[in-house]
């Protein structure tokens, strides 16, 4: 069971990912598009449903992955982030935050409604999270994303830096048990990678096979489980039973 939780909003990519061996994907729309064109999320959901019905009629040899809809939130500052999270939490299955700025990273790590903090190391020299943020993120179960596209499309002479950032995140993961997730951030079929190739590549940033397997399958499953019961949870530890 492998999952890819960051794929561009093209439903055809989900079919390709299914062929590759993924059993679940999240199609991610940018928050900017969702605000400019309010129908984006609705259209995405409709086309995903269409794919499902088509898949059923095909009785396909290739299994269609389960498709969820996510939003990647780009925020200017903490207040803006809180507002947007509030706005999209009910509409989307997975909430992702476009990290990179220290204050955004901090606000995202402190918010239990956020599922994934996407590339906190973006355009930075260090990893973007420290022990303080790691503790917060582990408490609130905000997963740190290791973005393969960011690694592969960095110039070869700069790649050592990205590997170093990934290593730092893994170090914090071992110490404080921050959830870590590996995603492809694919915008076209040329960005998709075979999951077992990804596991082999993860050895380059010091992950063991078990850790890489967890990052590709266990963490995503946890996120989905938590989101299914999210509406019924009143405060952490208390669930509404009907």
């Amino acid at each position: 069971m492998f999952f890819d939780f960051h794929i561009g909003n093209h439903p055809e990519l989900a079919v390709d990912a299914g062929k590759m061996g993924y059993s679940g994907v999240v199609l991610t729309a940018c928050s900017r598009d969702c605000i400019d064109h309010p129908e984006t999320l609705k259209n995405l959901r409709e086309s995903a449903d269409n794919l499902k019905t088509e898949g059923k009629t095909l009785k396909g040899e290739t299994k269609l992955p389960t498709i969820h809809i996510g939003v990647e939130i780009e925020a200017k500052n903490q207040v803006d982030l809180k507002k947007k999270v509030q706005k999209f939490r009910k509409k989307a299955d997975v909430i992702m935050v476009h990290g990179g700025d220290l204050q955004i990273n901090r606000a995202a790590a402190e918010d239990p409604r956020v599922d994934i903090l996407s590339h906190p190391y973006r355009t930075r020299l260090d990893s973007g999270i420290n022990h303080v943020l790691a503790v917060k993120a582990a408490e609130n179960r905000v997963a740190m994303e290791l973005n393969l596209k960011y690694f592969l499309f960095t110039r070869p002479n700069q790649r050592y830096r990205v590997l170093n950032q990934f290593r730092q995140i893994m170090k914090l993961h071992r110490q404080y048990h921050v959830p870590v997730i590996i995603t492809s951030d694919a915008r076209s079929p040329y960005d998709l990678r075979h999951p077992l190739d990804v596991v082999a590549l993860a050895a380059c940033f010091g992950m063991t096979k078990e850790e890489a397997g967890d990052a590709l399958s266990k963490t995503p499953q946890e996120i989905m489980e938590r989101n299914e019961i999210r509406d019924e949870v009143i405060i952490p530890g208390v669930k509404l039973v009907k």
């Binding site: 590759m20 393969l148 592969l152 499309f153 070869p156 790649r159 076209s188 079929p189 040329y190 960005d191 998709l192 990678r193 075979h194 077992l196 190739d197 990804v198 082999a200 590549l201 050895a203 380059c204």
Partner: protein, 125 residues
């Protein structure tokens, strides 16, 4: 004078990686070799690459109208299979055009790799 080949217990144990490549421009055997060696050099450097024992055994052209697909087999040392496999997803661009490599499977013999993973058309055999 030709060198005598090594006795079996001194030879390196090998594994064969079957792969397929999809690209925007057609790929030849030489292109595949240079792509793999270059990206391995970028990932592990000269020292690391030399330990993998990489060798492109054979490349088949599977191009259909609309998609340039190439399948092939890479040889590597048995102990370094995982490291050699990690090279394959790092290939992204060739001459400024996009290209993607995917592993189809790993096998101990060329024959098993071709029959199980490449699945040659009858005409090519």
């Amino acid at each position: 004078m030709k060198l005598k080949i090594l006795p079996t217990h001194l030879r390196d144990k090998k594994r064969y990686l079957a792969f397929q490549a999809i690209s925007e421009i057609p790929l030849q055997r030489e292109d595949v070799i240079s792509l793999i060696m270059e990206s391995s050099g970028n990932l592990y450097g000269a020292c690391g690459t030399s330990q993998l024992g990489l060798w492109v055994v054979k490349v088949w052209d599977y191009t259909t109208p609309g998609a340039n697909t190439v399948k092939g087999i890479i040889r590597c040392k048995r102990e370094e299979v995982d490291k050699a496999r990690a090279v394959i997803p790092t290939i992204t661009k060739y001459k400024g055009k996009r290209v993607v490599f995917q592993t189809l499977g790993i096998s101990g013999t060329i024959k098993a790799a071709t029959t199980n993973f490449i699945k040659l058309k009858a005409a090519d055999e």
